[in-house]
């Protein structure tokens, strides 16, 4: 029991930064007594993670571009479902943006927007899995050609990132239920929105990549 409490506190500290009372929040002093990086540690941590994730997707993108220039690259027919999925992710991102804005003004509908965003993201994942199913039904498997390998790999890695986002989303949902609009909750919503927009951007780039080649 005690260990479980310790574990939970650890998780919350890992996600929120040291001292979830926010005392860590804004340190890092400049020479004139002002703060050099006036932003919560968690937000900076997320930016650092996004930088690493950007490199990850940039590497995959450049690998894709190099590979598709090879002579034995056979283009992949894109399932039309992808457009629907793109719409779902776009709506999800938009819903989170509304959640972020209404959280800032402490509006009660924040949790509704948040819920909608999560459901849409789950639908997106389902849609992606369905697209996989359609592709394999059409005879395009993971090892069929580098084009299909890349498609499965890129969508899988992107999907895993969305799933990771859903974990953070679930935590934010519980926060919303417990104590509404603590600064911490507001920050969580904001960080979720930031992450969602990033994943939307990555997906749009990837879709463009699939579509153009």
């Amino acid at each position: 029991m005690k260990l479980k409490a310790q574990f939970k506190r650890g998780i919350s500290r890992a996600l929120n930064g040291y001292g979830s009372d926010g005392s860590w929040g804004a340190r890092g002093w400049g020479s004139d007594g002002s703060r050099e990086f006036p932003m919560p540690a968690t937000k900076l941590g997320l930016f650092a993670f996004l930088a690493a994730a950007t490199v990850l997707f940039a590497m995959l993108t450049s690998a894709y571009l190099m590979q598709q220039a090879m002579s034995d690259w056979r283009p992949l027919p894109l399932p039309a479902l992808l457009w629907l999925n793109t719409g779902l992710l776009l709506l999800s991102s938009a819903a989170l943006e509304w959640a972020r804005r209404s959280a800032r003004r402490h509006l009660p509908r924040t949790s509704l927007w948040l819920l909608a965003a999560g459901v849409l993201a789950i639908l997106f994942i389902t849609g992606q899995l369905w697209a996989w199913q359609k592709l394999s039904a059409a005879g395009y498997f993971l090892a069929t050609n580098p084009s299909s390998s890349f498609f499965y790999l890129l969508t899988a890695i992107h999907g895993l990132h969305v799933l990771g986002g859903l974990v953070a989303w679930g935590r934010t949902m519980t926060q919303m239920r417990q104590k509404t609009f603590a600064p911490q909750t507001q920050l969580s919503v904001e960080l979720c929105a930031l992450y969602w927009h990033f994943l939307l951007l990555v997906w749009l780039v990837m879709l463009l990549l699939f579509w153009l080649t």
């Binding site: 500290r13 990086f37 540690a41 941590g45 490199v55 450049s62 690998a63 590979q67 050609n145």
Partner: protein
Amino acid sequence: MEHPTHRARVEHEAHHEPTGFWRRYIFSQDHKVIALQYTITALLVGAVGMGFSWLLRLQLGFPGEFKFIQPENYLQFVTQHGMIMIVYLLTALLLGGFGNYLIPLMIGAWDMAFPFLNMLSYWTYLVSVILLFAAFFVAGGPTGAGWTLYPPQSVIEGASPGAGWGIRLMLISLAVFVAAATMGGLNYVTTVLQGRTRGMTLMRLPLSVWGIFVASVLALLAFPALFVGGVMLLLDSLAGTSFFVPTVNLFGRQLGHEGGNPILFQHLFWYFGHPEVYIVILPAMGLVSDIIANHARKPIFGYRAMIWAILAIGAISFVVWAHHMFVSGMNPYFSFWFAVSTLAVAIPSAIKTYNWLLTLWGGNLRFTTPMLFAIGFVSTFVAGGLTGLFLGNVVVNVHLTDTYFVVGHFHLVMGVSAILGIFAGLYHWFPKATGRLYNETLGKIHFWVTFIGTYLIFFPMYWLGFLGVPRRYFSFSAVESLPPSAQGLSAFITVVALIVGAAQLLFAFNLIWSALRGKKSDGNPWHATTLEWQTPTTPPPHGNWGPEEPAVYRWAYDYSVPGAPQDYIPQNVAEVPAATQKK
């Protein structure tokens, strides 16, 4: 304004100070415990890596004498030695060990920004180590494809030893390691930017923190490339995809792959692999800078230039990767660019070297063990770095590629240098971490054997390389162009390598014995200025600073300030006689 919350938090933490053995020493979230866990694990793994170097040297020095070393084993030894030393020893020890220990203490923080993530980082690292060694117990053994793991040979059964589960476990282990390094890197970057105490501006940070900070940024931006390459190679091996493996006809047997591009792997690998060199050398440079300034009792020469050099090296490290691939073939304009950018690294490197030398110049030198190792670092860094100028030139590179010249180069410039920097750091911060002094005589013997020994090992390799001795060969009996003297030199290198390896036992003994029985040390035996030496107790307590975190009033290098009562002024001292105030 900040005070009440700070105090509340400190008290809150004090109540939560872990008590039981498990949470205090095993599943600890204290950065100092995690640092020691990283350090001890990495040193043990490194000892295994050194054992492999003995085995492969035995074969090279006395071919055929040791019947248990077959060509497959030899390739596995070479591969595992390289991978263990670069990733699981140097990276883990410098970032996970020194980064964890020094960052919060040097910047005046209670702990890392995300302590739980920090703990998770260590345990993830341990899992990657276990996976690494698990490969020894699968059919075919660990991979023997060279630490670069180039496909197609690394994943095709029969083309290299351990091409089945050996390589797969290696790749899974690397992917797990990337996760550990990313968790650590996020923490180090965030902590350095956000955790600094009042008065600790970026331009007052000790260079150790600067080195570790920039290396952490490099790790965040470089490791994803290894992750991508590793996952794709794993799929090639496990799922039969063709990311890297082209159509292959192996002894008349047509394999199922088609359309893969092996060069693509090389790009991904070296996009990670080259910054990786700086991920291990920048922290070592930082440690060495602080140690040299401290034991020379002088401010570091050109502090700002040092920082700009660190940043420049970090930035350039991302645009030089293809110099590892000159012989893989590329557009001549590309190779021109990569040669020029590679040679440009010499400029910030030279700035740093001159600054170290000018710090030593006229200093009140104390030749303690850490100081000796730090000076040794500068020496091997120059001796190895200068040959980088040879290798960076395409026309020279083509002849020297895959010879012992390259082996000598990278061992001196990033292998030996980084490890000498680590030794310097371990001896220097040993009194802080344990509260005891190490044995100085043993330390000096350890230094001289290691330092002279590494020159005797790696300098002759330059010569072997000029003779054209290829690296990674099990036996040279079929290479008729080699004179017999090459074999004599190889035997000599092996004998020295055995001696230097044995000397590390002195180090291990010194470390263990002194930690248990060494003379008690006070909190600041080196009369150092930086914050970690000003903690209320030694070793520092949980939370580092007690009720009040230190405030910083000066940079980290106020040594031998004229008119000051002592020859050093700690960073958290506000008042000194007015005439001596440093601007």
